[in-house]
């Protein structure tokens, strides 16, 4: 008998829903993509609705609805935290009470009100937070058995978990408990450097190569005690998150020479060096944890999930260290992925569905293309309804050649093709793409298209079989979760010491660092996506055509949005973003729209005010 399970994550950060049938992942999406509110934490009713539609079922046909977290244990942590912190923690307690006692505890009511029923089981099931992360990493992976490492800020009590997955399911044997957390340590520096917690961690990672690890010793001596086996404790005297809404406190300020950087103010040498310093500590911790996981599990392969697993620089180091034969990382590693993990955990751990393995030895995540798609007919109906001029090219190869030629001519292109990605990275289904050979493309795309900080690097997409021509990478990286060095012969040395002695980031950003300058970070690295023809044939075809025209099988791939906006979902979202920015070409399935042909785009008010800066 078939078993269909809906997984839900919500009420904290980045709500999502996922649907699994007989162990097969059918659909998954984040609520923000539909609600257009970045990191939307509300109950994911739009995402649920999409998942049910994709599976062609009604809510009463669900065998179970599963929530990704245990609110009882989360409340236990909140209470004990506030008792430990005493009177200063009252505001935190008041807010947590409203959130957990007022909302999270009643997830079953939310489900009933939204869906009109609770499926066949008549109740909501729950998984532990790190079991959901572990399930999201292990079950779709290509490994029959694997060590499991989950790392995040905190889920219930746990911040880190080590275990093993095999034919008997998932076992988590050892944990590190709150408040000792690599995720919270990294978030503390994110906050201190003037970026937003829970979204700016990626910026901190991107900033790190501009700095030197001059504060690493101070961090190790004062903030974290890291054992050889990877276990660790933080010194809570320096952190603010026990009793305030700040991640750090005055002692932390004193340690690093003054108060936190104000958001949107100039980034100074201190922030660059802090970013590099905490990145170095994090990488060391991850490597030690991985070695311990290998020893404890005896497994040759590793799977990872949790927000810290999105640190693709650390992931790249882990890969190159060779501790495991192979590693696989869940691309939706944050809380959104908890929805998928909860559904998978219940499918296999509660209902006993057999695990599905890919006969070809690849994973079963379907390229993470798990969201909605729009047919050519739907796209054309949209365009014609609004009178937007377009050119239709039905032949996939001809279309790929036309778009590739536009890229080669320096045109920046919005690309909507196939099912939307699940997780924070755009992988060619909802991407802005460009020519990586241009020396000015990084700053152009950052400032005129994305409206974001100019220091942020762009990632390359390349054909899976050609990756080694450009990068020191001998494995697939389909989810853009591995940073690898650009091949040395492609790099153009420059005087880094001169840069370290001043604070002018633009000086280095606009300097060619390789023959692929727009995707080569200042440390000659790149966050690589390898594209396999089975995962996204149209995207693969496009890169191949670009290679035929230019000799380079690499293009720039960045998410299809502007700063603070969720990645686009629908053709309407894509058209709006296209018209608000200086993109030249928009591809909506087999329809091409040139900016120069479009009518004037009028909007009421300043759209920039719709999006809170991330």
């Amino acid at each position: 008998m078939s078993t269909t399970i809906l997984g839900i994550s919500s009420f904290y950060h980045d709500s999502a829903a996922a649907l699994v049938r007989d162990g097969e992942i059918v659909a998954a999406a984040q609520e923000e993509r539909f609600s257009r509110k970045k990191h939307d934490p509300r109950f994911p009713r739009h995402a649920i609705n999409y998942c049910l539609e994709e599976a062609f079922i009604e809510a009463d046909e669900l065998d179970a609805i599963v929530f990704y977290d245990n609110p009882l244990l989360t409340w236990d942590r909140v209470v004990k935290n506030c008792v430990m912190a005493g009177e200063p923690a009252f505001e935190q307690f008041e807010k947590a009470a409203a959130s957990i006692l007022g909302i999270k505890l009643w997830v079953q009511d939310y489900a009933r009100r939204t869906l009109g029923c609770l499926g066949r089981s008549g109740r909501v099931l729950f998984t532990d937070h790190h079991f959901a992360h572990a399930a999201s990493a292990f079950y779709p992976s290509p490994f029959r058995e694997a060590a499991i490492l989950t790392l995040d800020g905190v889920g219930e009590w746990d911040t880190t978990a080590i275990g093993r997955g095999d034919d008997d399911g998932i076992e988590l044997a050892q944990v590190i408990e709150y408040p000792h957390s690599l995720g919270l340590l990294y978030s503390a520096f994110t906050y201190f450097c003037g970026f937003k917690v829970n979204s700016g961690e990626y910026k901190l990672m991107g900033l790190a190569p501009y700095g030197r690890p001059v504060y690493e010793r101070i961090i190790r001596d004062n903030l974290i005690d890291l054992k050889d086996d990877g276990s660790f404790r933080l010194n809570m005297e320096y952190f603010g998150y026990l009793d305030s809404f700040r991640m750090t406190n005055e002692r932390f300020d004193a340690l690093f020479g003054g108060p936190p950087r104000q958001p949107e103010s100039r980034i100074t040498r201190r922030e660059m060096d802090l970013a590099m310093s905490v990145q170095a500590v994090l990488e060391d911790a991850v490597l030690r944890l991985a070695r311990h996981a290998r020893r404890e599990s005896g497994a040759p392969n590793l799977v990872m999930a949790g927000g810290v697993a999105l640190n693709c620089v650390a992931n790249g180091k882990l890969l190159r260290e060779g501790i495991f034969d192979h590693i696989w990382i869940q691309p939706a590693s944050g809380d959104a992925g908890g929805a998928l993990g909860a559904a998978l955990m219940a499918a296999h751990g509660y209902f006993g569905s057999p695990r599905r393995m890919s006969p070809g030895g690849r994973d079963t995540l379907k390229g993470s293309y798990l969201g909605p798609a729009y047919s050519s007919a739907e796209v054309r109906a949209f365009l014609e309804r609004h009178g937007y001029p377009y050119e239709r090219i039905e032949d996939p190869d001809g279309r790929a050649r036309t778009v590739a030629q536009a890229l080669a001519d320096g045109k920046v292109t919005g690309f909507l093709s196939g099912r939307m990605e699940f997780g924070p990275r755009a992988l060619g289904a909802r991407s802005i793409i460009g020519d990586p050979r241009s020396e000015t493309m990084q700053s152009t795309m950052n400032l005129k298209i994305k409206y974001r900080e100019s220091f942020r690097p762009f990632a390359p997409s390349c054909l899976a079989e050609n990756a080694a021509e450009y990068f020191d990478l001998d494995v697939e990286s389909p989810y853009m979760l591995l940073v690898a060095p650009v091949r040395e012969e492609r790099c153009i040395p420059f005087d880094r010491e001169a840069f370290y002695n001043n604070e002018d980031m633009l000086q280095i950003i606009n300097q060619a660092r390789s023959d692929l300058p727009a995707i080569t970070h200042v440390d000659f690295s790149a966050r690589v996506q390898t594209v396999h023809p089975d995962d996204h044939p149209d995207y693969y075809r496009l890169i191949r055509a670009f290679r035929e025209i230019t000799g380079f099988g690499v293009i720039i791939n960045t998410s299809f949005n502007v700063r603070g906006e969720p990645i686009v979902c629908s053709p309407a979202d894509a058209y709006r973003c296209f018209m608000r920015t200086e993109m030249d070409l928009l591809v909506l399935e087999d329809c091409l729209l040139w900016k120069s042909n479009q009518p004037a785009f009028a909007e009421a008010g300043d759209w920039r005010k719709d999006y809170e800066l991330d």
């Binding site: 739009h46 999409y50 008792v83 007022g102 079953q108 729950f126 998932i170 404790r233 005297e237 629908s570």
Partner: protein
């Protein structure tokens, strides 16, 4: 994502914190800490071994709370089991707060079956 709007609920939460929980802080500071605040040079490792390394079927079902009474009972049982009787005594008051705080998001519009379509 939410805040306590009702004056009654706010007052009850405040009372819970200051009258029930805050007195426990001294005890926690005097040594019965709920978690370590820093390094322990004598510890060989900081890993904590999980008591239950796998999720049983019962674990999936355990957190369900149909109402505040069930929540209070489960909370008290959790704290009795974990050796925190001082917190278990607070569970009924927390359950009462949960009843007052219960504030589901307003679902103010119908979810269209085509909500994710572009029109």
């Amino acid at each position: 994502m939410s805040s306590i709007d009702g004056g009654k609920a706010r007052a009850r939460v405040k009372k819970l914190f200051f009258r029930k929980l805050l007195p426990l802080s001294d005890m926690a500071r005097r040594g019965a800490a709920y978690f370590p605040m820093g390094a322990d040079p004598s510890a060989a490792t900081y890993y904590v071994a999980r008591n239950a390394t796998r999720m049983s079927r019962g674990d999936f079902e355990a957190p369900v709370c149909a109402d505040e009474n069930e929540f209070g009972k489960k909370l008290a049982a959790l704290w009795e089991r974990s050796g925190n009787p001082e917190l278990a005594k607070c569970a009924p008051e927390m359950a009462a707060c949960a009843g007052l705080l219960y504030a589901p998001e307003e679902i103010d519009d119908e979810v269209s079956p085509f909500i994710y379509v572009m029109f």
